[in-house]
């Protein structure tokens, strides 16, 4: 059954249906509906909602709950996600699963509360200190937000690693039809590695401390092997008219939705445009992008930032074809016309050369 739901609330509902019973958070716009939804719904679901004194405290509560085997999450936006980086690094180091939602707003600094995609570097490069990565899912609709929440928890558990869901303010605030998955019982998840088994048989210590260089290197190599496996098995992207595309737009989240409109408009004018939409930002869909541009003479990365994902696009296909960039920032959302116009100009310039 489809219901009408706000993006942020859909995240909350999907999390509860995915068996998440612990939420620790701190207020920040534009994601407040997530903690508010959890405060309302979690207690009756037998869970715990706790408003922390800061994002630092919230992520460290997540760390403690994850160490004790909880299916646990937090959510925030840019300035708060910056504060959470300490805890995310510890979660990655101690190999603990959890979900962190970033409903992106504009920055740097306090910035603004309007939608943005400027946290791409922070999300995909690890964000905090040390040799680690977080898996990053980027939904483009309320339905996909609901679907990817469950997927995020599964991935977090499968690889025992923190997973980030990176939406933007517009996705968080908009209402759309959504069909939720059936609730699952997550109480039988394998948490044999967690503290507090209470059997006295094997003492568990969960830590990221490692003062011996060789042993620390070993740990980092193991983490790297895990990320390689994630790259191999978990990469997700959507192709939209890429098969015969002469020009390929590359965009994720809200920017990708607008790009779809641009592709439709350009196709109506007889221009063979296509779109490759990364659904995982880390791992970045390199193979999928290579496939998408196989008949193209131009790739255009479109972002609600001044050019962050475009670096991954260039790393993947920069030596195959020209990669251009177009972005709006600060909370300004590009229009379909704007993007179509930019692509047409670039194609014309390319033809004139």
């Amino acid at each position: 059954m489809k219901v009408l739901k706000k993006g942020n609330e859909a995240i909350g509902e999907a999390a509860i249906r995915a068996g998440c019973r612990y939420f620790f958070g701190y207020p920040i716009t534009p994601q407040n509906e997530i903690p508010e939804y959890m405060a309302k719904m979690l207690p009756s679901a037998g869970g715990v909602f706790l408003q922390a004194e800061s994002e630092l405290a919230a992520i460290n509560m997540v760390y403690g709950a994850a160490a004790a085997g909880a299916r646990v999450m937090t959510s925030s936006s840019g300035p708060g996600i910056s504060l959470k980086q300490e805890g995310i690094s510890f979660l990655a180091g101690a190999e603990l699963p959890c979900l962190i939602v970033d409903v992106m707003r504009s920055g740097p600094g306090l910035g603004g509360i309007l939608p943005s995609q400027a946290d791409y570097f922070q999300a995909t490069r690890g964000g905090g200190h040390g040799d680690y990565r977080t898996v990053v899912y980027a939904p483009a609709s309320v339905q996909e937000m609901a679907d990817l929440v469950g997927k995020s928890f599964e991935t977090a558990d499968r690889y025992r690693t923190p997973v980030l869901l990176a939406a933007d303010g517009s996705l968080g605030q908009m209402m759309e039809q959504v069909e939720f998955p059936e609730p699952i019982d997550a109480s039988s998840r394998d948490t044999s590695w967690a503290v507090g088994q209470g059997d006295g048989k094997s003492r568990k210590v969960l830590s990221s401390l490692n003062l011996d260089a060789k042993s620390m290197e070993r740990h980092n190599l193991d983490l790297q092997a895990k990320y390689d496996k994630i790259k191999e098995c978990e990469t997700m992207a959507e192709h939209y008219y890429t098969e015969d595309a002469e020009a390929v737009l590359v965009a994720y989240g809200m920017a990708a939705r607008i790009c779809k409109g641009a592709v439709d408009e350009l196709r109506a004018e007889g221009i063979r445009a296509g779109l490759l939409r990364p659904i995982t930002l880390f791992p970045f869909p390199e193979r999928e992008l290579k496939e998408a541009v196989r008949n193209a003479g131009l790739a255009l990365a479109v972002e609600m930032s001044l050019g962050q994902m475009v670096e991954d696009v260039r790393l993947a296909v920069g030596c195959i074809l020209p990669v251009e960039f177009y972005g709006r920032t600060g909370g300004v959302v590009p229009t379909v016309k704007e993007i179509s116009g930019v692509l047409k100009d670039l194609m014309k310039r390319g033809a004139d050369k």
């Binding site: 612990y22 620790f24 207690p43 715990v48 706790l50 922390a52 004194e53 800061s54 630092l56 405290a57 919230a58 460290n60 509560m61 997540v62 760390y63 403690g64 709950a65 994850a66 160490a67 004790a68 085997g69 909880a70 646990v72 300490e86 805890g87 510890f90 101690a94 503290v195 507090g196 088994q197 209470g198 059997d199 006295g200 003492r203 568990k204 210590v205 969960l206 830590s207 990221s208 401390l209």
Partner: protein, 266 residues
Amino acid sequence: MTVVFDRPKSLTDKKFHYCPGCHHGIIHRLIAEVIDELGIQYRTILVGCVGCSVFITDYLDVDGVQSAHGRGPAVATGVKRTRPDHIVFTYQGDGDLAAIGTCEIVHAAARSENITVIFVNNTTYGMTGGQMAPTTVVGQVTTTTPEGRDARRCGYPVRISEMLATLEGARFIQRVAVFDPKMVREARKAILKAFKNQMDGVGFSLVEVLSACPTNWGIKPTESADWIRENMLPIFPLGVFKDVQPDVSGQALSGQAAPGAAGERG
């Protein structure tokens, strides 16, 4: 042959790495004795923090979670809320708890998080080499106050026990020392109470233990007791600052106590 003195069951056989004259060893042992006495070794979870005691998870034979600097009370909150049937405690130094972790300790106490906190105050950052701590006494020489702590530039030491005792949620706060046998016995009693409170669902309990750091104080271990008596006791007097039972009216307002929060026996 009768055994009159032995290693507590909850202490591993790993040798302490602590400097001569350091009090961490005594405090670790007291905690292990209390855990044994209460019979909770297999349902105790230790949250190790950052400082000289960062390796405490090697010494206490209980489950452990290693926290980031100062975040122990937040980590313990997450653990306790998830496993309310377990006994959860943090072991924090004064740099960890009274500087970088001030926010987390204040709010864990304000929520009356049903955890136990062992707070070891030696007036300095031991592990990083003896820098000024929030608890460094005025005039004390440290590596970052080479002329002695000057109150005009560096302010005054923070009295955590007195400060936390003003909070409604703080149920039991006592400051103890371990530099003579009588004090050690008193410290053991305080630690026992702080753990027992958690089992009885009383709420937030903290024991501050004054501890020696002769290495960074630049004195001999044998001079430490006098140093504490002369320099610490006037500023950090021993005593019970708070000892109350849970305020049930707060729970009535919120309807039901959350798992892990005060009032829930566990």
